[in-house]
Structure formats: C-alpha cells, structure tokens
C-alpha cells in the first residue's frame, strides 16, 4: 500500500513539475501579442489549472486515506491499483526498446521486408509457443504484412 501511495504522489508531483516547467518556458513570451492575447497566456492558464487540480487531488487522496477505518477501506482508495500486474513490466520495456530499434532500422532502410521480419519475430517471441509455429507464422505474416503495406502505401501515394 505504501508503494501505491508513493506512486500516486510521485505522479501528482510530476504533473506539478510539468505545470512549473510550462510557466518557466513561457515566461519569455508573455509580452508577445499584447496584454490580452499574449502567446504565453493560454498555456499558462492550462498549466495553472492542471497544477491546482493536482494539488486538490493530493489533498483529497490524503484525506481519503486518513478517514479510512480499515486496511480494506484504505486499499479501495487506490482505485484498483493493486489489480495491476507489475510482473509483466519486462514485456513493456522490451517492446519499447524494440520499437526504438525498429525506428533506427527504419531510418536506414524504410519498409525493408527484412526489418519487418526481424521485428515481427521478436515481438512474437513474447507470446507464441511452440517455436516451430512461431517461426512459420512469423515468416508468413510478416511477408504478408510487408507486401500489403507497401502495396497500399504505393497505391495511395
């Protein structure tokens, strides 16, 4: 429960930090466009509102926790945070790293079938078993997707 509390407060602090950053970033453009329509007014209004809401949420969250009489009631404060399976985080991290790699490869050879095949193979390896089925489906579907995508893009462009 303490972890969830720290997470929640960290997220709200991050939102506050974004609000402050927007204020700092827009300080130099507050004189552009005149007092009523200054370029920085609107982002500041949005950031200010977001910051106030984050503070309000923090206060409400803490108030909720303090009023909770039992551990079960306290747990309910976290909006089902405990349902989340952190055990699968490795998949998310791996998928994100793969996507960065994919973008890097794409920069070198756009729409290369080999790139598709490679990435598809790795994506699939997270879920599909047995390996034989994985290999067959990878080659077939990546080839099909490549042809389909290049064909469609080629036609419409």
């Amino acid at each position: 429960m303490r972890h969830a509390l720290i997470q929640e407060l960290l997220v709200l602090t991050a939102i506050l930090a974004i609000s402050v950053l927007v204020f700092l970033q827009t300080s130099s453009i507050m004189d552009a466009g005149g007092s009523q329509v200054a370029s920085g007014t609107f982002p500041r209004l949005a950031a200010g509102t977001m910051g106030v809401l984050a503070i309000l949420r923090m206060l409400m969250f803490v108030a909720k926790l303090r009023t909770a009489k039992s551990p079960a009631e306290k747990a309910r404060t976290f909006d089902g945070m405990y349902d989340w399976n952190w055990g699968n985080m490795h998949r998310i991290v791996a998928a994100t790293v793969l996507m960065v790699l994919y973008i890097f490869l794409f920069r070198l050879v756009p729409f290369a079938p080999l790139t598709f095949t490679f990435i598809f193979l790795v994506f699939l390896s997270f879920g599909v078993r047995p390996w034989k089925r994985l290999l067959i489906s990878t080659v077939l579907s990546s080839g099909f997707l490549t042809i389909l995508f290049v064909y469609i893009v080629g036609i419409v462009r």
Binding site: Q36, T49, Y102, P110
Partner: protein
C-alpha cells in the same frame, strides 16, 4: 439542403464510394470482433493509409470503420464473453448465456438486427436536426465557441475517466500539448524544446497513433491474455424469425435507440453508458414484471441483448450533431475523425456546411448508409470474422505495432514522427496505468487550437473586456455549467474533509 442531401446520396451510391464504405464497414466489424482492438485504434492506423486518397473516399472508409466497430463489438461479447469494444460490455450480460445454451446464431442475429435499427433510426432523427442546427450555428460568436469547446472538454474529461480530477488534468495536458509550436496569431514559438520539427506543432497523427494504437497494445501486453474460444455449435436462425423477434421487442428497441441518440449528443458519455442504461431499463422492466420473460435477467433474455445493441449504435446518430455542426467531438473516435478532416485541409465547425457542403453532407449521409453496409458485411462475413477470434493475440498485437509505427512514418516520410508516436504510446500507457483519461488528452489536442483562437479573438474584438463571455446566452450557460462542475468538485472535497474530522472526533470516544 434537400439538393445537397440528394447529391450526397448520389455520390455515396457511386460504385467506388459504396465499395469503400463496405470495405470500411467490414474492417470495422473485424476490428470490433477482436477484443483489445478499438475503433480509435483502427481509425488512427488507417488515416496514414488513406492520406493519399481523395478526402471523400478516405472518409467513406473511416465512417465505415466507425459504424462497423459498434456492431462488431457484440460478436466477441456474445461468443466468448469478452466485449470486442467497451460499448458492447452490456451485450455480454445476456448474449453470452444465450450462446452457452446453443443459441449463438439467434443472439448474433438479434445483435446485428438491433444494431442496424438503432443506428438507422437515430441517424434519421439526426439528419433534420443537423440541418436546422447547422443553419443557426453560423451565428455563434467566438466567445460562444470558446466556451462550448471548454464545456465539451470538461464534460468528456469528467465522464470518460475513472477519476474526475484526473480526467480534468488529462484535458489540461492535452490543451498544453496543443499550444506547442508557432503561435498562429503572433508567430512566436512556444514550448518547442528547441526542436525545429516541433515548430508546426505536435504532429497530430503521430500523437493519435501513439495514444490509441501503441498505448493500447502496451496495455494489452501487460495483462494476461484471455484464451477463450468461440463455441462451434451456434444453432440456426432465419431472417423471418429475426424480423418477428425484433418486432416483438420493438418497445425495448425504441427505448434503447432513444437513450443512445440522446446520450450521443452529450460529449463524453459514449456508447458504453448508453448500453448499460438500456440494459438497466430492461432489467428493471423484468424485475417489476412489466416485461414477461421465461428467464431471469442474466440467463439470456433476448430483450436485454437487443436494447443495449440498439443504444450503442444509436449513439453514432446523436454524436453526428455536435461533431458536424460545432466541430465538437464526443469521444476518441469522433475526435480522430475531426482531426482527419483537418489533415485533409477541411475545417469542421459552424461554417463547415457552408464552406464544404459536399463533404459535410457526404459525411452526414454516409453515417446512415454505413449502417446498411455494416448489415451487409455482417451477414456476408460473420463466419470468417468470428473465426478470427481463434488467432493468437501476440500475432495481432505485433501487427498493430508494426502498422502503427510504419503508418506514422508514411504520412510525412519522417522518422521523427515515429519517435513522437512511440513517446505518446509510452505516455498513453503510463496514463492508463495511473488512471488518467486518454480520450481527454486527444480531445484537448483537437479542441485546444479551437478554444484558444476563439478565446483570444473574442478578447481582441471586445478590446480585452472579459464581460464578452457573460453577455452571450450560450456562453453564459456554458459558464454556469462549468461553475456547477467546479462546485461539485469543491463539494466532494469539503464533504470528504467533514467525514475526516467527524471520524477523528469519534475515535477517542470509541476507545
């Protein structure tokens, strides 16, 4: 107006346009069938592919997808109790028990028929209303538009997320992101972080692909896969029996359609709420004895399947009204469609029907005809589409990621957009993880420029007098509604604090 409507019908029934609408509906059904793939995701992925097409043809596909997903969502809900889309959640309550007792064919037929009726009737009501509101919309001032946009944003953020405050914070984040780039009034760069690529603003398409496609896949990957398989024995059900059955539940269909049409107009409420409300109506009718049924609710009552299906499709008709007349999207899908209009160089809003009547009336009529093409596609393709449920999820998710990233590249041939899509994907995943609203950010991105430009224009016209927002009745009503929302927030906060102090006062006496 009549001549424009007739011209739109003629355009849509051209073989190619009709074929595109049919393809869109079939794709929508397919996406709807697959749990985890949603209408906004399909639209986000398809926009880059349709980008080089004629705007009218592209929109035939997009509208087909929008309407098709509403119907397709019911298939998985009935067959494997996993709604293909959130809108079909209520459908599973009665649809799945029907499938379990060997009446899957009957349940699927009722859902397809109810979807068609709900969508078509609501569209028939919406067409004249759009015409009338479209005529008056041109008189709306900048102050009104700014406040309507703000109210729509607040409504979506407060209703779409799990937490009101987090929803509002999400829309504020969307508004901040919308201000990135050159200020259109003064030409001053804002929040670009030194990247010249950001001078034109955050690429909308890449952001949407990231928020709705990549984030959804990441969320899906982090959850354990459901390995339910559809039943093989579905039972037979013919057209005449279906028509008889639908006629016998005309009252529930009418109520579902009315609920869906009304809720569709309200930004942020969405198809899922409409479905649940209609289901609650049928449940209440059975419990009170107003509706005679051999079975109890939850045991496969056909009326409990028909009403939510009619309601979640009727939302499309209601949502058309603010989308086309005011340029205010009601949910993620309509926000993406409005964004697509802007990408095609069109400006949705009060002047849309006057400046681009062919496109505006074309979209309006296509939304109705899409119900017909969806019905055709559902009848013709129901067997292969339900077989898709047997495909391994990891293969689907891999395909979506590849198409999403490649699609964001295809729109501008720039890998920077791919990085933006990936960043927004991770942002969307984290937002989902911590209970923030993704549709609210998307709506903030779409409505941000509309709200800001009209807000500043109104102030410039009034020479800085903020009273301009209180003198117009429409703007005043919006401000009152926004104040009520703020009042509710404060009331919640004060009542929580009161409970807290009461608990603390009671504690010593308890001891």
């Amino acid at each position: 107006m009549t001549s424009h409507i007739l011209a739109a019908f003629a355009d849509i029934f051209q073989p190619m346009s009709f074929a595109f609408l049919f393809v869109g509906s079939a794709l929508g059904l397919l996406v709807g069938v697959l749990p985890g793939l949603s209408s906004p995701m399909a639209l986000a992925i398809l926009i880059p592919i349709t980008f080089g097409m004629e705007p009218f043809s592209a929109f035939m596909i997009l509208i087909g997808i929008y309407v098709g997903t509403k119907t397709g969502g019911a298939f998985a809900a009935i067959l494997i109790r996993t709604p293909g889309t959130p809108a079909a959640a209520a459908t599973a309550m009665e649809g799945f028990p029907m499938a379990q007792r060997g009446e899957a064919g009957r349940a699927l037929a009722i859902s397809i028929g109810s979807s068609f009726l709900g969508g078509t009737v609501s569209w028939m009501v919406a067409v004249p209303l759009v015409g009338v509101i479209g005529l008056y919309a041109v008189r709306i001032s900048s102050a009104d538009l700014a406040m309507i946009g703000l109210m729509a944003l607040a409504a979506v953020s407060s209703l779409s997320g799990r937490d009101l405050l987090k929803g509002l914070m999400s829309s504020c984040l969307g508004l901040i992101l919308a201000t990135v780039g050159l200020d259109e009034l003064t030409g001053t760069p804002r929040l670009t972080l030194g990247y010249y690529q950001m001078l034109g603003g955050i690429p909308f398409l890449a952001a949407i692909v990231g928020l709705f496609a990549i984030a959804t896949v990441l969320v899906d990957m982090s959850e354990e896969a459901v390995n339910a398989k559809p039943p093989t024995n579905r039972g037979r059900f013919n057209l005449i029996s279906l028509m008889r059955e639908l006629w016998s539940m005309r009252k529930q269909l009418a109520v579902g359609t009315t609920i869906g049409s009304i809720l569709g107009v309200v930004p942020g409420v969405g198809s899922d709420t409409a479905g649940w409300l209609s289901f609650a109506y049928v449940k209440r009718q059975i419990e009170k004895g107003f509706l005679k049924s051999d079975r109890k609710i939850g045991e496969g009552v056909p009326q409990g399947l028909a009403a939510p299906e009619a309601a979640n499709n009727a939302v499309t008709g209601g949502a058309t009204i603010p989308m086309l007349t005011l340029g205010i999207p009601g949910d993620g899908s309509t926000a993406i469609m409005l964004g697509a209009l802007m990408l095609f160089g069109l400006q949705p809003g009060p002047l849309f029907f006057h400046e681009s009547p062919d496109m505006a009336y074309g979209i309006l009529i296509a939304l109705g005809v899409a119900n017909l093409t969806t019905l055709l596609a559902a009848v013709l393709l129901i067997r292969p589409f339900t077989a898709v449920l047997r495909i391994d999820r990891s293969m689907l998710l891999g395909s979506v990621l590849i198409l999403a990233l490649a699609g964001s590249f295809a729109s501008t041939n720039n890998t920077f957009e791919m990085m933006i899509a990936l960043s927004f994907g991770v942002l969307g995943y984290l937002m989902h993880r911590f209970g923030f609203s993704i549709p609210a950010v998307a709506l903030g991105l779409i409505l941000g420029p509309v709200i800001e430009s009209n807000f500043r224009r109104a102030l410039m016209i009034s020479r800085g007098d903020a009273m301009v927002f209180l003198t117009s009745p429409i703007s005043l009503i919006c401000i009152i509604l926004l104040t009520l929302l703020a009042g509710k927030l404060l009331y919640d906060f004060v009542s929580k604090s009161k409970t807290q102090s009461e608990t603390q006062n009671n504690q010593p006496t308890n001891k």
